[in-house]
C-alpha cells in the first residue's frame, strides 16, 4: 500500500488543533500566498529541511499562543498567517536564511 507524504502529512492533522481549514472535504485557500505557504512547508519537510512533526509542534504552539491572547471569535484570526510565521521560523532555524534575509 503506497502512502504518499502529502496524504500522510495532512492525515495526521485531521481533527487536531492545527488542521487546515477545509471546505467540502477539500483544502481551501483564500489567497495564492496561502497556497504558496502551504506548498512550501510540505516541500521543505519532504526534502528533510525540517521534520514535519517539528513544524507541527511549532504550529500547534503558535496557535495556542494566539488563542491564549485572543478571544476565540476574534475576527483577526488567520490560520495561514500563523502558518507563514511558523514556516519563516522553521526556515531560520534550519540555517537557510536569517530573519533579515527573509524580511528584506
Amino acid at each position: 500500500m503506497q502512502t504518499n507524504f502529502e496524504h500522510f502529512a495532512l492525515g495526521i492533522m485531521l481533527g487536531q488543533s492545527d488542521m487546515p481549514p477545509k471546505d467540502n472535504g477539500s483544502l481551501c485557500f483564500g489567497a495564492p500566498w496561502q497556497r504558496q505557504a502551504f506548498g512550501m512547508a510540505l516541500a521543505l519537510s519532504k526534502q528533510g529541511v525540517f521534520e514535519w512533526d517539528d513544524f507541527r509542534s511549532e504550529l500547534i504552539a503558535t496557535i495556542a499562543a494566539w488563542e491564549a491572547t485572543h478571544d476565540k471569535s476574534d475576527p483577526s484570526w488567520d490560520y495561514y498567517e500563523i502558518w507563514l510565521t511558523v514556516l519563516e521560523t522553521m526556515v531560520e532555524r534550519s540555517g537557510l536564511g536569517s530573519q533579515g534575509a527573509v524580511a528584506s
Binding site: M1, Q2, T3, N4, E6, H7, F8, L10, G11, I12, L14, G15, M19, P21, K22, D23, N24, G25, S26, L27, C28, A31, P32, W33, R35, Q36, A37, F38, G39, M40, L42, A43, L44, K46, Q47, V49, A65, W66, T69, H70, S76, D78, Y80, E81, L84, T85, L87, E88, V91, L96, G97, A101, V102, A103, S104
Partner: protein, 206 residues
C-alpha cells in the same frame, strides 16, 4: 502581544512575505519555482477514482441502472467492463450506498486494507486512521463538519462499515445546475471524497 500585530494592508504584507521566502529558498537552491505547483498537483489529481465516477454519473442519468446499482451492485459494475478481477480481487464484493434528500451515507472500515480500490483508487492515509474510524462511527456529524461538510440536521447520517467481505461506496446526490449534462461531464464532477461520503458533489463552477 506584539508577535500577532498586523497592519492594515495585511494581505499584501503576507503575500510579500510568502514571495520573499520562496525567492530565498529558490536562491539557496532548495526549491525551484515549480515546486509548489508540483506539490499541490498531488492534492488536485487523485489516483484512479475514475471508474467510480462513471458509475455515479450513469446512476444519475439512468434510473434503472441506479436501481440495479442499489440492489445488485456487482451486476451493475459488471456492465461497465471495469477490470475488477485480478490483483487482490479487492473489488469482488462492492455495495453502493445511495444518498437521497433524506439520507447521507458515510463509509468507514474497521480493517486496514479494505477499500473498493478498482472503483475509488487507493485510500487516503487518514481513512485508515483508527481514531478517524472510531469517531466516524460514534459522531459522524461532527467528523463530517471537520471536513467542511455540514449536513442538514433534518438528514439522517448512515455509517457503513466495510469489511473483508463487503466494501461500500457512496453514490452522492446529483448536484443542481447539471440538466442536460452528458455522462462524461457529470463524471468529471464526482470526487473520491464524495464517494466516501466525506464530501458532496458541488454544482459546476462553485
Amino acid at each position: 502581544m506584539e508577535r500577532f500585530e498586523h497592519s492594515k494592508d495585511r494581505e499584501a504584507v503576507n503575500a510579500a512575505r510568502a514571495r520573499a521566502l520562496e525567492a530565498l529558498l529558490i536562491e539557496k537552491g532548495v526549491i525551484t519555482s515549480e515546486t509548489v505547483d508540483k506539490i499541490m498537483a498531488i492534492f488536485a489529481t487523485e489516483m484512479g477514482p475514475f471508474n467510480g465516477a462513471k458509475l455515479v454519473a450513469k446512476a444519475w442519468v439512468d434510473p434503472d441502472f441506479k436501481t440495479l446499482l442499489a440492489e445488485d451492485t456487482m451486476a451493475a459494475v459488471e456492465k461497465m467492463n471495469f477490470v475488477t478481477r485480478g490483483a487482490g480481487a479487492e473489488g469482488e464484493h462492492i455495495k453502493a450506498a445511495i444518498n437521497t434528500p433524506k439520507v447521507h451515507n458515510l463509509i468507514i472500515c474497521t480493517l486496514c486494507s479494505c477499500y473498493p480500490w478498482p472503483i475509488l483508487g487507493l485510500p487516503p492515509y487518514w481513512y485508515k486512521d483508527p481514531s478517524f474510524r472510531a469517531r466516524a462511527a460514534r459522531e459522524p456529524r461532527k467528523v463530517l463538519s471537520e471536513f467542511g461538510l455540514d449536513i442538514d440536521p433534518s438528514k439522517e447520517i448512515k455509517t457503513w462499515d466495510s469489511s473483508a467481505q463487503i466494501r461500500w461506496f457512496v453514490v452522492p446526490e446529483r448536484p443542481a445546475g447539471t440538466g442536460g449534462f452528458s455522462e462524461e461531464q457529470l463524471a468529471a464532477l464526482v470526487t473520491p471524497e464524495s464517494m466516501m461520503g466525506v464530501a458532496v458533489v458541488k454544482p459546476p463552477g462553485t
